[in-house]
């Protein structure tokens, strides 16, 4: 039977093994008699045990994916190219890039409303959610509304 997650499981299994090994090693390196507490109260005891549990599960996932029938484990150049050419990937990348830039601009003495209006308008126009004029108007209303409601009424600081 074709197992669609064979490849995904293999790579995610490897990532989990790497993370859990890191956790186990870091836990081992944590102090054993920290501030006079006995060894069984060491800060690394639970993290170490959880890391070992995760390691076991990561190994199981990886071995299981290798033994299963389905997609070859190695990536082909054509797979990567078709993924990169997919319009859905473009949209995802664009949204991620826009959001990242928006977050980078927050908290740097730039006026919150201005940054938010620019982000919203660009996102709406780029993804063709509505006409540019409507997008700018919606962005203005949302940014001012959010700033007023949350900052003035709910007394929440703006980034």
């Amino acid at each position: 039977m074709e197992y669609e997650f064979k490849r995904q499981d293999f790579y995610s299994g490897l990532i989990i093994i790497a993370i859990s090994l890191f956790v186990v090693v870091e836990s081992w390196r944590m102090p054993r008699y920290f501030q006079g507490w006995p060894v069984y109260a060491a800060p690394g005891i639970v993290t170490g045990l959880l890391g070992l549990g995760l390691l076991g599960m990561g190994i199981t996932l990886t071995i299981r994916s290798i033994r299963r029938q389905g997609t070859p484990l190695a990536f082909k150049r054509s797979d990567i190219l078709s993924y990169l050419k997919d319009p859905k990937t473009h949209r995802l990348g664009l949204m991620f890039a826009l959001s990242l830039i928006y977050c980078l601009f927050l908290g740097h003495r730039l006026f919150y409303i201005v940054v938010t209006v620019i982000y919203l308008a660009i996102a709406m126009i780029t993804f063709r959610g509505t006409s540019p004029f409507k997008a700018i108007m919606i962005s203005l209303m949302v940014a001012i509304g959010v700033a007023l409601i949350f900052n003035r009424i709910f007394l929440i600081p703006l980034p």
Partner: protein, 509 residues
């Protein structure tokens, strides 16, 4: 205490009847319904977002707003399930099966009305179960000590992983264990040692729950929604909305059964409304005299699914209040919100805040009534909201997610945490890892860590009480059985053995 329960609920209800509180109840329920209606915005995300945004408000008002959003979102999700065949929240997926065929037959209004009423009955059933059972469970919870709390945390992760990833529970358990580890970043509670912080001051405080939740549920949804832009087509004719009494009376068995199923599933840590809805639907189909109509516009199916998911709300709050263990992902956020507002749910709740259970019950009663009223009115206006393009909606949601994450501690670091967990949540979704166990792990991590170490300190390093105390033993047995039930060779071995044993006791002809 139990004899006075109804009276205390009534007293709390009276306290809630003020113009300002009623205003908050109605707008929050309406917002919850909109969040629930819009595909991609879930109840968990809505509550997580509002937790940040209501942080500065009076605790009572903030909690009532969150409860209203919770109830509203689970109820509202059936709208898009019926009219678009896209569930507004995962909890309403089962409602698509019969709701959409009903809408296609021109009976969308009837389906909406019935779904709303079934949701109302389910919520009320769930909240009364909550009011009745929480004090009892609270008394049992007083018998829980460090050993039991450690196993309870592990049991929560295992059962949640098992039920939220039915196709591959291993991924559910991985998600849960990862969540436990995430919660242990930063200074720990016994010796104040800073774990996995790599010298960064911000990391020493650990990852705040709300940015993690908003990231995993909200940002992952924003990225997913923008990747696959759907242009919804809504059937504008909805017809009669107010349900006929006979439609409800004729199906009282399904309502009762689904209510019980919803409450039980809700009380299981981390499982949640979507599982409750599917199980209720499945049981209704098995019990129906017309199972062939299921999936083709059966009223029984729709009523069962909607009663089950809403009854789950009350069920999910039972362990929140009695054990501080959330029964579902939205309940996990509610628990976090209670902590943020100075309430400590758990075994001592009845001593520290004796009226809190009745207060929450009264809040849920108000939320369920508000939800019913809003559900049965302004339907045509609400339907128009479904037409908002995702390319307009999702960037706005992102802006709200940013504000919601930032609001709790006013730290830019939390925005980065949100974004990081958003990417992780998106990857997990694509790789079929459930998010609910991760969230539950983040909630229960501290409980597992502190209680295990505290227990070892109390016994001077002796681990035997972990395996010999009665409640610990029961929890271990449940954990082992849950894991074994998902291992195929073991399952086959058990069924073959049972068959052989049965054969021994069967009279030979």
């Amino acid at each position: 205490m139990m004899e006075l329960g109804p009276l205390l609920i009534f007293k709390e209800l009276v306290k809630l009847i003020s113009p300002m509180i009623l205003f908050h109840i109605f707008w929050a329920t309406f917002v919850g319904m909109i969040i629930g209606m819009l595909p991609g915005l879930t109840a968990t995300m809505g509550i997580a977002l509002l937790t940040g945004l209501t942080f500065g408000m009076e605790p009572k008002i903030a909690i009532i707003i969150l409860i209203c959003v919770y109830v509203g979102a689970i109820t509202g999700g059936s709208r898009s399930a019926i009219l678009l065949n896209i569930p507004g929240t995962p909890a309403n997926a089962a409602a698509c099966l019969d709701g959409y065929p009903l809408a296609q037959r021109g009976e969308g209004g009837q389906a909406i009305g019935l779904a709303a009423t079934a949701s109302f009955i389910g919520t009320v059933f769930g909240l009364f179960c909550m009011a009745f059972f929480t004090p009892y469970l609270g008394k049992i919870a007083l018998e829980f000590h460090s050993w039991e709390f450690f196993w309870l945390a592990i049991f929560g992760i295992i059962i949640c992983g098992n039920l939220t990833a039915p196709a591959d529970p291993l991924k559910g358990w991985i998600s849960g264990f990862f969540g436990l580890l995430v919660s242990l970043v930063g200074m720990e509670g016994i010796a104040a040692y800073s774990r996995f912080s790599f010298g960064f001051d911000q990391m020493k405080g650990g990852f705040a729950l709300i940015p993690v939740l908003v990231g995993v549920y909200g940002i992952a949804e924003v990225f997913g929604g923008m990747r696959e832009i759907i242009f919804p087509k809504v059937r504008s004719k909805v017809g009669r909305i107010i349900p006929r009494a006979r439609d409800l009376i004729n199906h009282y068995r399904h309502i009762l059964r689904s209510g019980v199923i919803g409450v039980i599933i809700g009380a299981i840590p981390g499982v949640g409304e979507d599982v409750a809805s599917w199980v209720s639907y499945d049981f209704a189909k098995r019990a129906s005299k017309k199972p062939e109509e299921f999936g083709k516009g059966s009223l029984e199916g729709l009523i069962a699914a909607e009663t089950g998911d809403n009854a789950c709300i009350g069920g999910a709050i039972i362990p929140v209040l009695s054990l501080a263990v959330p029964g579902s992902a939205p309940a996990a956020v509610l628990l976090a919100a209670m902590w943020l507002h100075g309430v400590r749910p758990g075994p001592l709740l009845m001593f520290e805040f004796p009226n809190y259970i009745w207060e929450v019950t009264a809040m849920m009663i108000m939320a369920s009534f508000a939800s019913l009223i809003i559900s049965l009115s302004f339907v045509r206006a609400q339907v128009k909201i479904l037409l908002i393009p995702r390319a307009v909606l999702m960037p706005i949601v992102f802006v709200l997610c940013v504000i919601g994450s930032f609001a709790i501690n006013a730290r830019i670091f939390d925005i980065w945490v949100m974004l990081g967990f958003g990417i992780l949540g998106y990857a997990m979704r694509n790789y079929n890892y459930p998010a609910a166990p991760l969230v539950l792990g983040v909630i229960l991590g501290d409980m597992a860590d502190v209680n295990m170490r505290r227990a070892l300190i109390r016994t001077a390093g002796d681990i035997s009480p972990f395996f010999t105390r009665p409640i610990s033993l029961i929890l271990i047995l449940l954990i082992v059985l849950t894991i074994m039930s998902r291992i195929k060779p073991l399952r086959i071995f058990v069924s073959v053995t049972i068959a052989k044993v049965k054969k021994l006791f069967t009279r030979q002809k």
